[in-house]
Amino acid sequence: MTRTPITEADLHARADGQLVPERAAEVDDEARRDPALAGRLAEIRSQNAWLRSGLDSLLDDSPPQRLREAARGPGNRLRRLASRLTSVRAVRYAPAWTAAATLVIGIAAGWYGRDAVLARAGMPITFAQQMAYAHVLYASDPNRPVEMWAPDEKRLVAWLSKRLDYPLRAPDLESAGYALVGGRLVAGNARPTAMFVYENAAKERLTLQARKSTSADEAAFRYAVADGVGVFYWIDDHCAYALAGDLDRSQLLTIGELVYKQLAEAGGKG
């Protein structure tokens, strides 16, 4: 035989599938003649299979929010949301004769069209996006997400109610695992918005934003996703609300219903 002897490196490369086909065939030939070699090949392959079967289960774990954000790069997410806001605003301020075109664009773009009720109620058609933007801007600040902290809840709620000219309440989300961090006032289109920030044990944050509505129209739950931020929004009793968070739709909906229920009960409509 003039064959090159099978080396230790060949053995590993064969088991790992890294040999060129001709060399792989030679190793396989040799393994048919040499049970010891065949045994070692099988051993390595079963080690690999065992390692994979154990470690592959780790791939199913959904990554925590902090890693998903880190992958997007510092500040990138905010920049992207901001550029979208600008482009939508350009359409909104277009001359009246383009209104029909705007509507078409709105519907084509998907969820803008669903904001018709909010738009009639004096809300910008970009309500959900604004809410998502404010959520990312403030909730991502680890040290100072709010202007006034939860221990001052009474003063916080009184202050925000006064600024909005609407009697607000900060819902209790303890049953969903979220505690009130505090709140702040956020500038909105023409009207101020109140923001309550909540946090769970894993330091993941939710925001509930509220803005007084100009009309008596009510709107049922609507849902939008802007760059990974889920937003549920609705209008109830002359106030538009938006609940935003990095949660999937069903988790966010559960909390949204909790908020809605508490606010409705407080409003005496239970």
Binding site: H12, I44, Q47, W50, L51, G54, S57, L58, P63, A71
Partner: protein, 184 residues
């Protein structure tokens, strides 16, 4: 200008693999996620050094490897000064996930325990070749060592794992209903 040559979606998609490798390196879920977060932050800092179109996974693994090596060196220095916690070599004792809510994955625990017995250098090569299925040349680049060293480490790692598993084979293993029995 907002120059962002890194493909964000690919980075997000790479997170599970980065977490898995970090878990193998550190042995601990929290330290693993800290390492992944640092790796992602470093990748953004050094994004101009990434050649667009080249293998993002290999580049990320390289960054993680370097951070891990630096951490171990730091831990070794700290150990000389303090030497209270940690186990000296900085590879970290394996910590079993014990959270009550967590589904106990017996097979995973066994694999991590066996891997924890290997020196970090051998563990890296073994997992990159056998689990990540990286080419040996690629592994050599990630770890900044010659291919020959990759092969000798791989050979030693597999021999050590074989012997260790043969030893454990006689001892009572984890039972199929998910409860763990003590080995040795």
């Amino acid at each position: 200008m907002a120059d962002a040559p890194l493909p964000e979606d690919d980075l997000v998609a790479a997170i599970p693999r980065l977490r898995r490798y970090a878990r193998v390196l550190t042995g601990d879920p929290t330290r693993a996620d800290d390492l992944v977060q640092e790796t992602l932050a470093r990748a953004w800092e050094k994004r101009r050094l990434w050649a667009a179109g080249s293998d993002l996974r290999a580049w990320m693994f390289t960054i993680m490897h370097n951070l891990f090596v630096n951490q171990r060196a730091q831990a070794a220095r700290d150990a000389r000064n303090v030497s209270i916690d940690d186990d000296g070599d900085g590879t970290g004792a394996l910590q079993l996930p014990v959270a009550a809510s967590q589904h106990v994955r017996v097979e995973l625990i066994e694999v991590l325990r066996e891997l924890a017995r290997l020196p970090a250098e051998q563990r890296e090569v073994l997992v990159l070749a056998g689990v990540e299925e990286m080419r040996y040349e690629e592994i050599a680049q990630v770890l900044a060592i010659p291919v020959g060293t990759v092969m000798s480490r791989l050979s030693r790692a597999r021999e050590k794992l074989r012997r260790s598993m043969a030893e454990t084979a006689g001892a009572p293993r984890a039972t199929s209903n998910g409860t763990l029995q003590r080995l040795r």
